[in-house]
Amino acid sequence: MWLFLLRRLGQVIPTLLILSVMVFALQQLMPGDPALILAGEERGDPVVLAQIRAELLLDRPLAEQYLSWIWRVLHGDFGFSWRIHMPVGDLILTKLPVTFQLALMSFVIGVLIGVPCGVLSAVWRDRPIDWVINGIALFGISMPNFWLGIMMILFFSVDLGWLPPSGYVPLWEDPWMSLQTTIMPAFVLGTGVASVLMRHTRAAMLGALSQDYVRTARAKGLGERLVVGKHALRNALIPVVTLGTIEFGRLMAGAVLTEQIFSIPGFGKLVVDAVFNRDYPVVQGVVLATALIFVMLSLVADMLYMAINPRLRTA
């Protein structure tokens, strides 16, 4: 097990290194001279421009710029936002709880819908309930998140007036209001997760139900409820747990348009606003942070997989 973990780390570290080079290159590719953007009204003054270039090391070779940048990133310094005048690291930290709350709510909705539906459709394979669940999952996968969001605003906010159409209230300020502002986006994101989890749960359950130990359990006269719930489901859930962790990682970053539509001030809105403001250190920081979260969560997924699958522990 430790050998496997070590080998896995041996993959993660080069991946992160390449990632850092790509994120650094992204900034080099961005149009516009950073010094001109930063100088603002004083852009005509060559002394000011030279001073800014020297401060940002823009007059140094690329390799030196990269090394100094990665050195600062490793020390938790993600640079300074050009527009909001705040350290990028702090900016990301202020958005993290918002995105985390939304991701967690969406994930819970996704699991609560996806896993039971997957089990039901595997147990009742090729029956009407299987077709219905599969059809709904296909709808969920094909439905563009942002359109579902707009339609939900139309129905629940405009027509029924039940929920506020957009905005966000932090959980610690007013929990009830916070739930009201996040339940629609969480549902929009959750349905996508539910569709994916349902398909995987169904496939894993079908695999488990055809195993010999299930036949043995049935043969010795165990009730169907016990066979499905204890023997098949427990084994089927192993790959689903791994996949769920990865899905959670995607939720932590993939909410770009949903946050935009519901005006939720999380990672997605941060990166889009930064792109339009040409606030490149923020774009860089968010790309790096989301990728880092994703890499870490897939590592966690692997460890969970080993923790719950005893066969891998001895290997």
């Binding site: 296909l138 094909s142 339609m151 348009l257 790309v287």
Partner: protein, 293 residues
Amino acid sequence: MSSTAGSTAIETGESPASRALRRFMAHKLAMFGLIIVVIFVVAAPLAPWLAPFDPLETSWSRLRKPPSLTHLFGTDENGRDVLSRVLYGARASLMAGTIAVGGAVLIGVPVGLVAGLGGKWVDIVISRIADAMLSIPFLILAIALAAFLGPALENAMIAIAISASPIFVRLTRGMALEARNTDWVEAARAMGNPPWRIGLVHVLPNIIPPLLVQATLAIAEAIIAEASLSFLGLGQQPPSPSWGSMLNSAQRFIEGAPWLAVFPGLAIFLVVLAFNLVGDGLRDALDPRSQKR
């Protein structure tokens, strides 16, 4: 075709391709998806003849009129006919979907073949690069690339193609590694075929079925990505119609003119659903292990 019932494909001497085609044709949902895809593919180039109005023609006398017999999908905030705009918008979406995925395949498959057949170190380097790209969320990578390239439909397509390519690298690499250890590749190598020939002639044809499935599903994803980029203003530029940018402006008039948001979204949903149905159908039809006849 029903005469083959009860006998296996080998006994009837049916080729894998015709067997897959027959199974695909028998797949009702997949055929339904294919019909929708064909309708859109035919309608998009014929938009100038099919559209009842000029998609760019504004009129102050018909601002935000609800659907009626003259304007089946209503009119938008500039008095333009929504049905005509949805029809023209199909061009941007389908083009972006197919060209972007075509680009991703053209990048991903050769690189994946090289990784799978090129030896240990080549494989490690390529795999780590693909891992790094895959660890950046798809849409965030596409947004960052599109922002760097500048807002335009062509640039959105390039951004989507690059973002989607590591999936094809990974798929091709995995299949190539698997094929490398088969007897026929071993035989080809023993006969003295150079590596590039083994890759192109012996490995590639065998991995086309899963590639086809993945590409079809990727088109669905690329269409959503194009709509997302256009929604953010990073794709097709106004006044040219695209479903994503139509949804963006529709959001401002959601209270008074909900039809503006309904129809472009419905169009995206239908096309994406259709491609997903075709992809699922292809997967079932092409899977040699499937027991279905």
